[in-house]
């Protein structure tokens, strides 16, 4: 077992055991924190597909995160008010069922990623970073002034959505759901990375001309990666909204995009468990530092800086040595 694998296994074990321990010790907030970390990790795993495998530095992933969030907010608020979403051409009702909401979140954010990706992928490098940022901002400003769903105030739902056979109101079962989805996404990431698609995508990141010369369309490879990536981040957005029972434009702000990206880089770009390590460390830091001083952002900044400067390959790179990911 390589050191990286050992680290991954320990991390996963921690994610299973810590909330159980918290439950036993009656510390429900620890579970909430862990849920936040797991959901952010899921969003970051999504970004890691675009960023780590495809080399697509998207500074607009908050758009997908937010679309997922609004998918949940809109469906649930309509279910709450018994007002159908649409009556024509077909009747669409709101819902409080998580599986349905997830599906809608995945489809909606995937579709948005398809459109944004198709347009953005005409550019590359720094321009790509900036055009994705621009799309993110467009969605952000749109939601701020979207009066029907609360504008900047956002949308609250009063009760967490349901999952057949589980009491999602209790922290632990909801956490479990999120963790299972994270594991599924990690599995998918791992498979993708090793698959023919992943191989071609990685090559498209490094030498697009070569990929085209062997008969593959680099843009199409990237687009598919971008869509998968956006859909996973969208799913995370739906969960995040459910965790907070609230969704608002803040989920689509460029700072949110930056934060998701920071999680990936912090953990290790292209590393399977990079986003997970990044999210766990970030959430923990945020929680611990916040209690120490009003100026805790300074220390957060210093720690992040230390990681970029002295830990190539992020946390996973630091723990497990180089190789595997890329930076």
């Amino acid at each position: 077992m390589t050191r990286e694998r050992l680290f991954n296994a320990l991390l996963l074990a921690g994610l299973v055991l810590v909330p159980l321990a918290a439950q036993a010790a009656d510390e429900p907030f620890t579970i909430t924190l862990a849920t936040r970390a797991v959901i952010l990790a899921l969003a970051a795993v999504g970004l890691n597909i675009a960023l780590g495998l495809g080399g697509l530095v998207s500074l607009g992933h908050a758009a997908f995160f937010g679309i997922g969030g609004y998918a949940m907010g809109i469906l649930a608020s309509h279910a709450q008010s018994y007002a159908p979403l649409a009556e024509w051409p077909i009747l669409i009702e709101g819902t409080k069922s998580m599986p349905v909401i997830w599906l809608v979140a995945i489809l909606a954010s995937g579709l948005a990623a398809l459109v944004i990706g198709a347009l953005s992928l005409r550019t590359s490098g720094v321009y790509f970073i900036m055009i994705t940022l621009a799309f993110g901002q467009m969605f952000f400003f749109f939601t701020i002034s979207w009066a029907a769903y609360g504008g900047e105030d956002g949308l609250s739902i009063y009760v967490r959505n349901g999952f057949p056979g589980l009491n999602t109101l209790a922290p632990l079962p909801f956490y479990g759901l999120c963790l299972v989805l994270l594991c599924a996404a990690l599995w998918l990431f791992d498979r993708l990375a090793k698959s023919p698609f992943g191989l071609a995508l990685g090559a498209a990141r490094q030498v697009p001309a070569r990929v085209a010369a062997v008969g593959l369309d680099p843009t199409r490879l990237r687009l598919v990666a971008f869509v998968i990536s956006g859909a996973i981040t969208g799913l995370a957005g739906a969960l995040f909204a459910d965790l907070n029972r609230f969704v608002s434009p803040a989920m689509l702000s460029w700072q949110m995009s930056g934060e998701i990206m920071v999680l990936v880089i912090l953990g290790g770009v292209g590393r399977l468990f990079g986003p997970v390590a990044g999210a766990v460390v970030y959430v923990t830091l945020e929680h611990l530092l916040g209690g120490i001083t009003e100026f805790w952002h300074i220390f957060l900044g210093l720690i992040l800086l230390g990681i970029v400067l002295f830990a190539r390959g992020g946390i996973v790179g630091l723990v497990a040595g180089r190789g595997g990911g890329h930076d």
């Binding site: 960023l51 530095v57 500074l59 347009l119 953005s120 005409r122 550019t123 590359s124 490098g125 720094v126 321009y127 790509f128 970073i129 900036m130 055009i131 940022l133 621009a134 799309f135 901002q137 467009m138 400003f141 749109f142 701020i144 002034s145 979207w146 009066a147 460029w254 930056g258 990206m261 920071v262 880089i265 912090l266 770009v269 100026f295 805790w296 952002h297 300074i298 957060l300 900044g301 210093l302 720690i303 992040l304 800086l305 990681i307 970029v308 400067l309 930076d327």
Partner: protein, 306 residues
């Protein structure tokens, strides 16, 4: 809508554009020439504004305040370059994003720690206060005219520096291949510290000049930063001329969009809804502009490379 108003609004758009250019100039210098994504550029802008406010309060001299703004920002820039940025040149954009993101946190809260949580005072010097009457009877604030002049002067000087001087050529060479320019005998590290400090000084200058008509407060740099990025991306990264054109385009779009879109919507909608819908679309308009430009020309209007 009278023609005078339209002319005045066009002027406002141009002026807003020049204001953006002041900020974008330093950014495009660092970003294009040194290949560095500096999210902390907004922080240097803030440093300039705070230094100016501090010195203006102490000395009462606006000129001193401007000098202080440039000096403080240049110093902060040089320190940051020596301590952090120079370790990032050979890393990719991602690490730069993370590190400079961290710098924003440090700068913002550090400034708040030093200066407190409340906005500071920095005002236009008396000599430049108040409006002047332009031909055609347009009343226009003198200070804004001065801003336009300052912006254009910065544009010209920078264009010359980067395009024509050997210093400029070497800086650009270093952007293409840092290792190689060093192997040809150029001390690129020193050069980059200099450029970074210069870019920072420009940000500081912008912060002080603009701070006098806006609010000097923690976090003031971030909204401008995003706009400045939009500007240099539209113009084409690394191109001073592009930054100027981009800035004017963004300034005009933002200003005129905010005014004319609601009017346009009123033709087809109830006034209240039109105002709100028009304002929504206006807030997205520069991003739509940027998206459109990049889709049409993937490396910006004057950019050559990605």
């Amino acid at each position: 809508m009278s023609p005078i108003l339209i002319i005045e609004q066009v002027l406002n758009g141009l002026q807003f554009g020049v204001m953006l250019f002041l900020m974008a100039a330093g950014l495009t210098l660092i970003f294009g020439v040194m290949g560095l994504i500096n999210l902390a550029h907004g922080s240097l802008y803030m440093v300039g504004a705070f230094a100016a406010a501090g010195v203006a309060a102490a000395t009462g001299s606006f000129l001193m305040a401007l000098v202080a703004a440039m000096a403080a920002a240049a110093l902060a820039g040089a320190l940051v370059e020596l301590a952090v940025i120079r370790r990032l040149y050979d890393k990719d954009h991602l690490d730069q994003v993370l590190a400079t993101f961290a710098l924003i946190l440090i700068f913002s809260e550090g400034t708040r720690w030093l200066f407190g949580s409340f906005p500071l005072f920095l005002d236009i010097p008396d000599a430049l206060a108040g409006p002047v009457t332009l031909p055609g009877g347009i009343q226009y604030p003198l200070y804004r005219l001065v801003l336009i002049g300052a912006g254009l002067a910065v544009a010209a000087l920078l264009g010359l520096l980067i395009g024509r001087t050997r210093l400029g050529i070497r800086i650009r060479a270093g952007e293409n291949d840092r290792e190689m320019i060093a192997a040809l005998g150029v001390d690129i590290s020193k050069l980059y510290t200099l450029v970074f400090a210069l870019g920072a000084a420009l940000a500081g200058l912008a912060g002080a000049l603009v701070g006098a008509i806006q609010s000097v407060q923690v976090g003031m740099g971030e909204p401008v930063l995003i706009l400045a990025f939009v500007v240099i991306v539209i113009g084409g990264i690394g191109s001073i001329r592009g930054a100027l054109v981009g800035a004017l385009l963004v300034g005009l779009t933002d200003t005129l969009g905010g005014i004319f879109l609601p009017e346009l919507f009123k033709l087809v909608m109830a006034p209240a809804a039109a105002t709100s819908a028009g304002a929504s679309l206006a807030s997205m308009s520069i991003y739509i502009l940027m998206g459109a430009v990049l889709i049409w020309r993937p490396t910006g209007l004057f950019g050559a490379r990605a």
